[in-house]
Subunit: 466 residues, 2 copies
């Protein structure tokens, strides 16, 4: 794309002129047909506007130029990765600069002795995962969108994934960051060492800040050694309560599965309808457990016995890696499959202490009945992190209203059970009214004070989080 393709009126605007003073022409896009495609992420029910311009920098200096320009002209900046987010955190506002980091996609270093990688923010999660595998290393965070989502986006939302029950979330793998601040200055945080406590932990403040405190332009990530191939077991339960009981027994029993996922009946049926996988539709809850230990079959046998104690009607360990992968594929298809049920979904992300998982699933069932909706639940059960997925027809105003109401009731229930409104998807615009309910007035005041400290002009992703 060349400068000549930009709409003439936009090129002549002071904003575009100023941006072009420090960016190559192909990095400044004003063609409305193209900028419109940068308007929003994958969340439903989240308003979005029309960006004035989309910038696609390739260097730290170019990002600094963008932020200096935005500060000078008081123009809001919305940073974006692959826009696979589920909370509207990357949605454009009218007249903003969309700052897409997708062209800053170099893996700068992989070091097997120090077990770190240094990357630019636009690196695709799966690209990094594959690259470190070649060095015998493992980058655990694996959001479902891992083939598309960027490390910068993962850092912005502190993404989770299927492996978190053993390996934790993105936040635990970010050792240090280079961040362009609102006024264009460059801040380095953290370290490339295994340990370090020099000053306040600003690194973690940026992780999960949804682009509202600064623009991450480089990250030092911790890596693990590549574990053995995991082996998966599937267990069928006559009720969600029994499956949750099994989860509690497994975790109280001291087991460390590499994955412990739950799919309820609605989800299993939706996956079968989509992909004809032959999952057992008579089951009320399907639990998938995996181990990547030296002897996964032995660990699966122990966990299988606990599932039977909790009332599992069928326990089927995968024979091999291929069968394991088929089961994981079924789990990964849950959300797209549920989308087919009524055309649209709202994906919730409530996380409760795992001892309350049964209460949460029970309550969600009641909410679904009350609102006469299908709410399919897939869950990172070992973490107590559920994705109740409200299926609705967006063309039907009443059904849409009931969908939104049930979505909110699930968050209220999660908070009552000692949980959080978001385990891994973030607040964005979707849940910003709910953040105050979780954090309370003192918490909100300190959140706003942090924002004010880093972004006094409120130009960094304004209107997100709170």
């Amino acid at each position: 794309m060349s400068r000549s393709q930009a709409a003439p009126d936009a090129v002549d605007s002071p904003l575009t002129d100023r941006l072009l003073a420090g960016l190559p022409a192909d990095a400044v896009v004003t063609d409305p047909d193209i900028t419109a495609s940068y308007a929003h992420d994958m969340a439903s029910f989240c308003p979005s506007g029309s960006p004035a311009v989309v910038v696609l920098p390739r260097t730290v200096e170019e990002v600094q130029h963008v932020m200096r320009t935005a500060t000078e002209l008081r123009v809001p900046v919305v940073p974006q990765g692959a826009r696979t987010g589920l909370s509207g955190a990357a949605n454009a506002s009218d007249g903003c600069i969309v700052l897409s980091l997708t062209r800053m996609n170099r893996i700068l270093e992989i070091n097997p002795v120090d077990r770190i990688a240094v990357v630019e923010p636009g690196v695709i999660n799966a690209d990094l995962s594959r690259a470190v595998t070649e060095h015998g290393l493992y980058y655990p965070p694996d959001p479902s969108s891992w083939e598309m989502c960027t490390i910068g986006g993962n850092i912005g939302t502190a993404s989770g994934g299927l492996c978190c029950v053993k390996y934790g979330v993105t936040a635990e793998y970010v050792l240090g960051l280079d961040v362009v601040l609102a006024d264009g200055r460059l801040l380095s945080t953290g370290r490339r060492t295994a340990k370090g406590v020099a000053g306040y932990d600003l690194t973690r403040l940026f992780v999960g800040s949804e682009g509202s405190l600064g623009i991450v332009v480089r990250a030092v990530l911790a890596l693990k050694p590549q574990p053995p191939q995991q082996l998966v077991l599937a267990a069928e339960f006559p009720s969600a309560a029994a499956a949750c009981d099994a989860v509690c027994r497994i975790m109280a029993g001291g087991h460390v599965p590499s994955l412990l996922e739950l799919m309820d009946r609605a989800t299993v049926k939706a996956v079968n309808d989509l992909a004809h996988m032959g999952l057992p539709e008579t089951t009320e809850a399907l639990l998938l457990a995996a181990f990547d230990t030296p002897d996964p079959a032995a660990d699966l046998a122990a966990v299988g016995a606990l599932c039977e104690e909790a009332g599992a009607t069928e326990v089927v360990p995968a024979e091999d890696a291929a069968e394991s992968e088929m089961l994981l594929q079924a789990r990964r298809l849950s959300l797209p499959a549920l989308e087919k049920v009524r055309g649209t979904t709202m994906i919730d992300d409530v996380c409760v202490p795992r001892s309350r998982l049964g209460d949460l699933l029970d309550g969600i069932e009641q909410i679904a009945e009350k609102h006469r909706l299908t709410i399919g639940v897939c869950a990172h059960a070992g973490d107590g992190n559920t994705h109740p997925t409200v299926c609705f027809d967006a063309q039907d105003p009443d059904e849409s209203r009931r969908a939104r109401a049930s979505f909110d009731e699930i968050m209220a229930l999660g908070l009552r059970l000692g949980g959080t409104i978001t385990g891994e998807h973030g607040v964005g615009v979707l849940k910003k009214e709910w953040l105050a309910r979780e954090l309370g007035p003192v918490g909100m005041e300190m959140q706003r004070a942090i924002k004010q400290t880093f972004d006094p002009l409120n130009i960094l992703n304004p209107g997100k989080l709170f």
Copy 2:
């Protein structure tokens, strides 16, 4: 201790009167003989003053009363745990309130399903470790002072320990906090769930903040299942460089030891002199590796072979748990043993990328020669985190000057090697001139801005960190 024991002039001061309005008499100590014993932690070369009063609250409300009083009267507050710190971060200033959290020492909850403990800040690390063991659980962070130090102190300094190479530092185990702010308001951060991304991560901002942002009064801690008993191997090397090469081979080889420690010749000799343990004094570097895996002997055999490839002259796996414990005991005695060499020590805490560990040890040897000093090095080698311990006679001004100079030169070397001035001991007053050299002007400005946000009157542990 009763109110009548307090010095009459102090009791009549507005500060003491105001404190006594919300605290029981035995929680307010003004007897100068007693308050003097709260003056400082265990660091050398760190100035300390005389507190006006020591308060020993038992409840959150009492802590809130202390902070409200301090805000009202603009009196500095120095929070303290067991004062086992090594950077002067808990040192009193003249006229301050010492806020000792040692009486808030209840373990409020241990939950094996959710794998969390909820504790007050004055709980001793070893008390928590033993209590969770009874539930089949494990609280990994294990600073050398674990029999004395408090969880609140561990959180304040983001403490490490021997287990970090596998299990990480204190920061990774703090899920949520209750914090009394400078003005007495109560802030709750974080969560008791396995995951959660609602708002900025304020929890991690408090971890390692050395009491300068708020007073931690309650913590939700993550626990792990109790691992199998670890088995230790000792390997002797003809040079520190060869031992560091072994460390790199072990980590690049994908091994996950539960401990990987190094003691240099000076340290080995000091331990033998102190405890007659019969360690091999002809070795230039002793490496201890441990595994708490299902088959530790097999893992030790693999690591032993890598040690031999790197030039180890002797590789001795412990026969059993008792022999393992003896080797760990030798490691834990390193610092007290080095203290005997010249009467006083300055314990550095430089952490470098582990690939640069050999360069660091080489440089430390040159610094020791240049300054004609014994600098014993024990190190959490697997983390690249070294404790170069400068031995000197505090009565000898020239030796003391050389000790301080070598201490500083080691930090400069650590920074040149891409490391940090402090891996786990914190900045306190000991290293505050060095923080700016590590963080740079933009970093320091943002650190100060955070401090200003949480403590606008600068009454929380002023003069620490920066």
